[in-house]
């Protein structure tokens, strides 16, 4: 089977359409960024507190907000977690912005949220602990002291293992919330064990899934670092490509990658995805990937330039793109499919990250023939070299080619 048998499209002739498309995407993206007051930073970059809470039923957002207000937290943002794969997840993200570099403890926000939750949703019976909030060691402690199975000397190990089983059941099978201690019988806990637990624990109807607290100083520091790393990476690649090919190729490739990153950021703004550290990782990966693509085309241009000495440069570039089209579409297509699977099935934690990759692969592939190649052609034409005078890189590159 073969998709692209003998393609002969005049890519460079369509350059102005490519520029127009890119221009449009950039303008729309930038407009969104401006309208929303900048990129939508996650707490990695903004600082603040985020608590992810899962409820047994539909989360009562207004009740939560009032409860928080009573604890003195006026400016909280409560966002339900909705996932393409799981639209009714009964989870909310409680967001508190960091007020400033105060002497107050870093987790003042988290402590306030927890007390608000407990106050609003029942502290259960006084003196008892919330079963949904404890770890296996706490449970093992309780069981060892009460010894409902009369395990005697082997109590420690026996209950340690049982506790792990119970907690694993709660977390893996029940999503972290057990509504009633009787439900634990499904995990292998006998009636005696459950009775012993009931003396010490009650079950609330919520569970803390995740807590993230980032101090404001760290936030701005990470923001600065992210920008610096990206710029360094781009500079490194510019040098690498200039070494393998020529400066103009390096510049064209870097401009194309820049274009990719800007469009991705614009789309992030439009679709209101949060920019976190992992998203920056995805951006750097797409930088590498876009370079990839661009290099394959440049490689072919260099090879063809030697073979097709008499032809005008833009014809050489067209031919190169056509020859590599099959490979480009195939690989990008396959990589795109894999990250699409990741986007759909990868879970909510990776959603923004995989979105960056999905967009990045599409745009990165497009920019190789839509931006980078036309830029090189334009440069050559501007230098008055319609004919194919393209010096091809370093001696090392030539040597390896001589096979």
């Amino acid at each position: 089977m073969e998709f692209f048998k003998q393609v002969d499209i005049d890519w460079m002739g369509k350059a102005k359409y490519f520029y127009a498309l890119s221009g449009l995407l950039l303008v729309v993206g930038m407009a969104s960024l401006v309208a929303k007051g900048g990129p939508y930073y996650g707490i990695d970059f903004k600082g603040g507190t985020v608590v992810d809470v899962r409820f047994a039923g539909t989360p009562p957002i207004d009740t939560i907000r009032n409860g928080l207000a009573q604890q003195g937290i006026g400016n909280s943002t409560i966002v339900p977690v909705s996932d393409i794969a799981r639209p009714n997840s009964n989870e909310v993200l409680i967001n508190i912005e960091e007020k400033g570099e105060g002497a107050e403890a870093l987790d003042a926000g988290k402590a306030a949220i927890l007390s608000a939750l407990h106050a609003t949703f029942g502290a259960g019976e006084p003196g008892k602990q919330d079963f949904n909030a404890v770890g296996p060691s706490a449970i093992a402690d309780v069981l060892t002291r009460k010894d409902p199975l009369s395990a005697g000397a082997a109590a420690g190990d026996r209950y340690a293992q049982l506790s792990r089983q119970i907690v694993s059941y709660r977390d893996k099978d029940r999503g972290g919330i057990v509504n009633n201690l009787d439900e634990l019988s499904a995990s292998g806990a006998s009636a005696g064990v459950i009775a012993a637990l009931r003396e010490v624990f009650y079950t609330s109807n919520f569970a803390i899934i995740n807590v993230e607290i980032v101090g404001p100083k760290v936030g701005s520091e990470l923001r600065r670092q992210a920008v610096v790393v990206t710029l360094y990476a781009l500079a490194g690649m510019l040098v690498y490509i200039a070494f393998r090919f020529e400066w103009v190729y390096g510049a064209a490739a870097v401009l194309a990658v820049f274009h990719d990153v800007l469009i991705t950021l614009g789309l992030f703004s439009i679709f209101h995805f949060e920019i976190s550290l992992t998203v920056i990782a995805a951006l750097l990966t797409l930088v590498g990937y876009s370079m990839n693509d661009t290099i394959v085309i440049f490689d072919r241009i260099r090879e063809n330039a030697r073979l097709m000495r008499r032809e005008p440069f833009h014809a050489i570039v067209n031919r190169s793109i056509n020859q590599t089209l099959s490979r480009t579409i195939l690989t990008s297509g396959l990589t795109f499919l894999t990250v699409l699977v990741l986007f759909v099935m990868g879970g909510q934690v990776l959603r923004a990250f995989s979105f960056a990759l999905v967009v990045g692969i599409l745009v990165g592939t497009y920019s190789s023939f839509g931006i980078a190649a036309p830029l090189v052609v334009a440069w050559n034409q501007w230098r008055g070299q319609g004919a194919a005078v393209v010096t091809s890189g370093t001696a090392a590159g030539n040597k390896l080619r001589k096979t």
Partner: protein, 544 residues
């Protein structure tokens, strides 16, 4: 050619064996059942915090405090020194964290003063005080500052590690972090509730015994200052009583009492040899902490207590006055800290004192807790996505490239096995972005095969024989493959250097996956092709 091929095949088989060994052969070798294999596998791959749940803390050591403390002590010593040498001066005070001002030295003793100080404190630079005829500024040298900061960092890290270890958590991590901002990272896998760990870490453990200067406590800071004419005496400092929830007993100060104490402590936590929790005899039902001093400190403490009988000894814990008992007689090297502690409180305090005081206080910069259910969710999503994407790619390759597609499939699966085995061997941590890196490796790894196959198809279209086509295809594609891998690996390298936890996991997965891909798509694929070509009849077409 055939025996060459056999050796290559053997080599590949050896690599596969080593990988499988790394993944399911440890720690129980050989695994005796399916359960054994599964448990070996889960032990070999270390899971990051975002996959197993746990707590991640970034804290910053306030090293400036240690520097300031050293200046304080040096100030005190210089005072004694100048007095011993009977050098007269008007004033001796601390200017900044690293500078001491000697004000108005008697004119004929200027030279002597300088020599005396320079002799005893080579780490300090002496310069003329600006605007003074006979004064000096003594400044800590930058090398000493740097050394002190590093020493403080090391000691803080060591102390924190000891305290965390004493809590008995599984495989905690305590390590320096970041680029030189005095930060330490603490990771507690599986620990869903960090509060006890945090309070144990943060407990300064700064125990200091000071002489209480004024007879009684003051109700407020202002009152204390007022009774001294609005300015504190130069050798004194004010300290507040610790805030206590329960009703204070006779000697336990309430938080609204302020004490005037000697600036320099007679004994600090560093002089402790041991500290244990014991049942309190005075406050029945509560616990105290008994401590013992080192011999050297005992030699100082004895005369001190003897000279100050009748005065109060302030036990200052973390800059708050814990108790202030009256010195009734000479004490050489034992003491007790009373404070109506509960059992766990007293045990923790003993632990903290035994592990040594933190040389400076710490501040939390970042705290992340991943609940275990999220971790389990993430693993499930990650694994499902990996399997589906692998299947998608495999099916496509076989349909599009027919038998050569199977070649690519074998190479890809081997790629993943090598990737996982490498992670296991290096003890690298697998995070959720790391799983994404594996998925990305699937997509990008198959790129190499596509490059080669497309080149082979091109050559075949040019009517070359299969053997030549394969040969040329691999050769021509090789350089491009190197180029494309290098750029992505460079990105990954940047991410590894500047990233933390989950991002690092991603960088490692991606880089290792691509490196393994170089091996599988070029070497292994080639071997499979050669083997297939050798068995193929001469006239047959290459299935690609």
């Amino acid at each position: 050619m055939n025996s060459n091929l056999k050796w290559k095949a053997l080599f590949i088989a050896a690599v596969i064996l080593v990988c499988i060994l790394g993944l399911v052969g440890r720690p129980e070798f050989p695994p005796k059942s399916w359960m054994g294999i599964k448990s070996n596998f889960s032990n070999s791959i270390k899971l990051g915090l975002d996959l197993q749940g746990g707590t991640h803390l970034i804290l910053q050591v306030q090293v400036q405090e240690a520097v300031s403390q050293e200046t304080d002590q040096t100030l005190d010593h210089i005072t004694t020194l100048l007095r011993d040498k009977t050098i007269r001066y008007d004033e001796l005070r601390k200017l900044t964290d690293t500078q001491i001002l000697v004000h108005n030295v008697a004119p004929e003793q200027i030279g002597a003063a300088r020599n005396v100080i320079a002799d005893q404190y080579p780490d300090w630079a002496i310069s003329a005080a600006p605007g003074e005829t006979s004064g000096y500024i003594v400044t800590m040298s930058p090398t000493r500052i740097a050394a002190l900061q590093q020493q403080t960092m090391d000691q803080a890290e060591e102390t924190i590690r000891r305290r965390i270890d004493a809590l008995g958590l599984t495989e905690p991590l305590v390590a320096p972090y970041g680029q030189g901002d005095n930060e330490i990272i603490v990771e507690l896998p599986g620990e869903g509730d960090p509060n006890r760990a945090k309070s144990v870490i943060q407990a300064g453990g700064q125990l200091e015994l000071h002489l209480v200067l004024d007879g009684s406590a003051y109700p407020s800071e202002a009152a204390a200052m007022a009774s001294h004419g609005g300015i504190l005496p130069p050798n004194a400092q004010l300290v507040q009583g610790k805030s206590s929830a329960s009703s204070p007993s006779q000697s336990a100060p309430a938080s609204d009492s302020w004490y005037l104490i000697d600036r320099v402590p007679v004994v600090t936590g560093r002089d402790l040899r041991s500290a244990t929790a014991v049942r309190s005899t005075k406050n029945v039902g509560f616990f105290d902490v008994d401590f013992t001093l080192s011999t050297e400190a005992g030699r100082r403490f004895g005369p001190f207590t003897e000279q100050n009988i009748g005065k109060q000894l302030g036990v200052v814990l973390e800059h708050r006055m814990q108790t202030a008992p009256t010195i009734n007689g000479r004490i050489d090297d034992t003491g007790v800290i009373e404070g109506q502690f509960g059992e766990q409180e007293a045990n923790d305090l003993g632990l903290v004192l035994r592990s040594g005081a933190l040389p400076a206080s710490i501040k939390y910069l970042e705290e992340r807790t991943v609940g275990p259910s999220l971790g389990a969710d993430s693993i499930r999503h990650g694994v499902q996505a990996s399997i589906v994407s692998l299947l998608v790619v495999l099916i496509f390759m076989v349909v599009y490239y027919r038998l050569s597609g199977v070649n690519a499939v074998v190479a890809l699966i081997l790629n993943l096995i090598i990737l996982l085995a490498a992670l296991a061997y290096f003890g690298a941590v697998l995070t959720l972005p790391g799983i994404a890196g594996v998925i990305l490796t699937i997509g990008m790894g198959v790129d190499s095969n596509v490059l080669i196959f497309e080149r082979i198809r091109e050559e075949l279209r040019g009517a070359k024989a299969p053997v030549t086509a394969v040969d040329v295809g691999f050769k021509r594609a090789f350089l491009t493959i190197i180029d494309t891998h290098v750029t992505t690996i460079v990105s990954a390298a940047f991410l590894f250097v500047f990233g933390t936890g989950p991002v690092r996991g991603f960088a490692v997965s991606l880089a290792v996956g691509l490196l393994a891909n170089l091996f599988t798509s070029v070497y292994v694929s080639r071997v499979i092709f050669d083997w297939h070509l050798a068995k193929m009849p001469r006239e047959a077409e290459l299935s690609i």
